[in-house]
């Protein structure tokens, strides 16, 4: 059983005339990267601000690493890294001075070394002595990410971290997030780019009008949606895969080069059974996966009214 690092229970945040977050309950465990998905105004940013204590909660509780926001905000801050959807930097400081400011604030040991590591991790090493105002938006985004990673927090809240990044930057961000996942961090990430999230999220929370519509692992959510689009590939020399698939409960079966795509209505166990059948009948399966935009599909099928 994984260790829950971020626990939100019955969170409610009120704005005048609107309940921004209503009865939100979710858990992000060590090694989980949870995609927070929802249309504009769904309450994603408010949720993140409430978790970090920047937004007053009406009700509910937030725990980070076992520390309650209401009673132990100081301890909670040490375990939490929050990267907002814009890039607050001191324009007249250099990148390393900016990180030094936060390294001192977090009392990071071996400050200089850690700053260098974070600059390297966010591929900003050559900009060490550049003023923040000279950095592009994407670079500032990376610098703020470096600042968030600096104290090595257990829980990371990343609000639209990829929004200012170029394609290469997004690939690097994905690598960093996968590293964080492997390092056992709990990451809650919101993004408009669902294909990006699909690459590294193992859980997702879909919000609409302040409420949590769905929450679970990607597989669970796909299962809840009923139909999954699958892709299978095999080696040339084994079995009769197309016949097996035709006989199984699949729809829209289409052959591809040494493989096929199909829609599957059954539950996860039935899907597992299908894979087992293929293998047992000598099909040398080389790839078996849900098609790329799982989260996009889940989101579109979840009934959220407006695409982000």
């Amino acid at each position: 059983m994984s260790n829950p690092l971020l626990t939100i229970e019955h969170l409610r945040v009120d704005f005048p005339e609107v309940v921004a977050v209503n009865d939100l309950t979710l858990t992000v465990s060590s090694g989980d990267v949870c995609g927070l998905i929802g249309p504009n105004g769904a309450g994603k940013t408010t949720t993140m601000r409430a978790i970090s204590g920047l937004q007053e909660c009406t009700r509910g509780s937030v725990k980070v690493g076992g520390h309650e926001l209401a009673s132990e905000p100081g301890e909670l801050k040490r375990q939490l890294g929050f990267m907002p959807d814009f890039c607050p930097t001191y324009d007249q400081l250099t990148a390393s001075e900016f990180l030094d400011h936060f390294a001192r604030a977090y009392d990071v040991p071996n400050r200089a070394k850690r700053i260098e590591e974070c600059l390297e991790l966010t591929w900003l090493k050559e900009k060490t002595n550049a003023l923040c105002e000279e950095l592009s938006r994407g670079m500032k985004q990376r610098l703020v990410l470096a600042k968030t990673l600096l104290p090595d927090p257990k829980v990371l809240l990343l609000d639209e971290p990829a929004s200012g990044l170029d394609p290469l930057g997004r690939i690097e961000l994905r690598k960093i997030l996968l590293q964080l996942r492997e390092a056992g961090k709990a990451v809650l990430i919101s993004s408009h780019i669902l294909t990006e999230l699909s690459g590294f999220c193992n859980t997702a929370a879909i919000m609409e009008r302040g409420k949590l519509v769905m929450f679970g692992t990607i597989a669970e959510l796909g299962q809840k949606m009923g139909r999954r689009q699958m892709s299978v590939k095999w080696r040339a020399d084994g079995g009769k895969p197309m016949e097996i698939l035709k006989n199984a409960n699949v729809k829209n079966l289409e052959a591809t080069n040494l493989g096929a795509t199909f829609d599957f209505d059954g539950d996860a166990n039935t899907l597992d059974e299908l894979l087992k059948t293929l293998v047992v009948q000598d099909v040398r399966v080389s790839e078996w996966r849900g098609i790329g935009d799982d989260l996009e599909q889940i989101f579109l099928q979840s009934g959220a009214k407006e695409l982000m």
Binding site: R12, R78, P88
Partner: protein, 502 residues
């Protein structure tokens, strides 16, 4: 943690130095050296100047030096702190800093002492030059020491106000304009410097008095006004100590407010007990300063050698009455809860009765403040109450009705008009306070002017022998009619809000 370990201070220092400090330091040095050169020129050839002595010349040149120093340190520092905090708040850096494990006191100290470093450097140069001027002019070193202590304590005092303004207001420039306006209006109190509290909260009296006492020079008028020690309930007290004491007391509350707002921006600026305490302290100090005029036997002025004739005709208590209203308005506005905060609290705690609303609203605080005034004002007529009770009742009744109307109006407008609340409050206050004076002018009938919310107390205290006290009592009673009407509507608005708190 000392300042050199405080990341906010270090960053503010880096930002200040990166923006350049040499030019401001040169400007300060140029001003200081010019004034010093003036004194040296006087020493070289006294006939070219209109000073009677070296000391007088030294005082003039030193006076100019500290004038510039005050401008740089108090106004410039205030502007710098409030601007840098407001800008960092807009940029999201304030939130980023608040999310670090830094303690609120470290955050506040960093901005408070770090943002105005450029101004501190300039002030240090001017203070150094001032010291040379004082020594060259053979003036007492205590003149330099006393004035510098007062200037730096005032800069710190206003720096704390700037921190709060930067935290609360979107546009801190408004705070600077208010500060400048305050300094301008403050100058009216120079007619009675020893009796007005603001002359001690700002160290105007302390500084001027240092110049007077150093060699007793100056004309009769200035010695009468600015010489000698002020008294608190008859006890003479050093004006520098009085200024430092007042700034320290009020500063403690400002510090607490800044810390509280940093720890949780959703907290009120002022807790209720703090509002009561700060109001009480300032009012006791103010009434203590003027106590010597009546010795508790208002309106009979008591013989007091040294008091200028001017004060015998001056309606000082009515001026204090107006000041009390102004202070109460500031405190009530600061302590009045936002409807949204009340609604969220009602949701959180599940408390939805009007009793809880009343206890947390500015209306109950208005009653508490009026009670404090009633007790303190009694000190002015305690030994003549038999003859002055009507004036006392009018003044206290006027203050109570004013405080209640203001707090009810403020909360009613916030509930009813939301974002436009301030405009409506101003409109209603204009109608209730100013319009009667305009109508009195139009119809050339002074009695209409007395209908103003401001009038009964001011008129009764300024003209204690007025035969028309019953008319004023009637007006106060009429004002309570407005209170009742407002209360009914205020209650209805709160009930509507509580219905929504689900």
């Amino acid at each position: 943690m000392n300042l050199n370990d405080n990341p906010i201070f270090i960053t503010q220092r880096r930002l200040t130095h990166r923006a350049g400090v040499l030019a401001p330091i040169f400007i300060a040095a140029l001003i200081g050296l010019s004034l010093l050169a003036g004194l040296i020129a006087y020493r070289a050839d006294p006939n070219d100047f209109h000073f009677n002595s070296l000391q007088e010349a030294g005082k003039v040149f030193y006076g100019w030096t500290i004038g510039v120093e005050i401008l740089v340190l108090v106004i410039g520092g205030f502007s710098r702190i409030s601007n840098s905090l407001a800008n960092e708040r807009k940029a999201g850096l304030w939130d980023s800093n608040r999310l670090t494990p830094l303690k609120p006191c470290q955050l506040v100290t960093g901005y408070w002492l770090g943002s105005p470093l450029r101004e501190f450097y300039m002030a240090a140069i001017l203070a150094g030059t001032g010291l040379v001027i004082v020594l060259l002019a053979k003036l007492s070193i205590t003149l330099w020491l006393g004035t510098q202590i007062l200037i730096f304590s005032t800069a710190l005092f206003f720096g704390l106000i700037a921190v709060l303004i930067g935290m609360i207001f979107q546009r801190p420039q408004g705070g600077v304009i208010l500060l400048v306006l305050f300094f301008l209006f403050q100058s009216f109190s120079f007619a009675m410097p020893k009796f007005v509290l603001t002359n001690f909260l700002l160290p105007v009296y302390g500084i001027a008095n240092s110049f007077m006492d150093s060699d007793n020079s100056g004309n009769d008028y200035s010695i009468r006004n600015w010489g000698g020690l002020p008294q608190i309930f008859g006890l003479p007290i050093n004006p520098i100590l009085l200024s430092l004491g007042l700034q320290l007391l009020v500063g403690i509350f400002l510090w607490r407010a800044a810390i509280r707002k940093t720890a949780n921006p959703f907290q009120p600026v002022m807790l209720r007990w703090e509002a009561v305490a700060i109001f009480g302290i300032l009012l006791v100090a103010q009434h203590g300063l003027i106590w010597g005029i009546w010795h508790g036997q208002f309106p009979e002025i008591q013989p007091w050698t040294g008091r200028p004739k001017f004060y015998e005709s001056e309606p000082l208590l009515s001026v204090v009455h107006c000041g009390t209203i102004l202070l109460a308005i500031i405190i009530l506005a600061a302590a009045s809860p936002q409807p949204e905060t009340v609604r969220v609290t009602a949701l959180r705690l599940g408390v939805k009765n009007l009793g809880a609303i009343f206890a947390g609203s500015a209306v109950s605080l208005a009653v508490a403040l009026a009670a404090i005034v009633a007790v303190i004002l009694f000190s002015q007529c305690a030994f003549s109450f038999g003859g002055s009770w009507e004036i006392y009742i009018i003044a206290v009744g006027n203050l109570l009705s004013f405080f209640l109307i203001f707090s009810l109006l403020l909360e009613f407008c916030r509930l009813r008009h939301r974002r436009r609340a301030l405009g409506f409050v101003a409109l209603w206050l204009f109608i209730l306070c100013v319009l009667p004076f305009i109508l009195a002018g139009v119809f050339t009938n002074a009695a209409i002017g007395k209908l103003s919310l401001l009038s009964p107390g001011v008129v009764a205290l300024a003209n204690p022998n007025d035969d028309n006290l019953n008319y004023l009592l009637g007006i106060v009673a009429g004002h309570f009619g407005i209170v009742v009407l407002l209360f009914i509507n205020w209650e209805r608005q709160w009930k509507q809000l509580l219905v929504k708190a689900v």
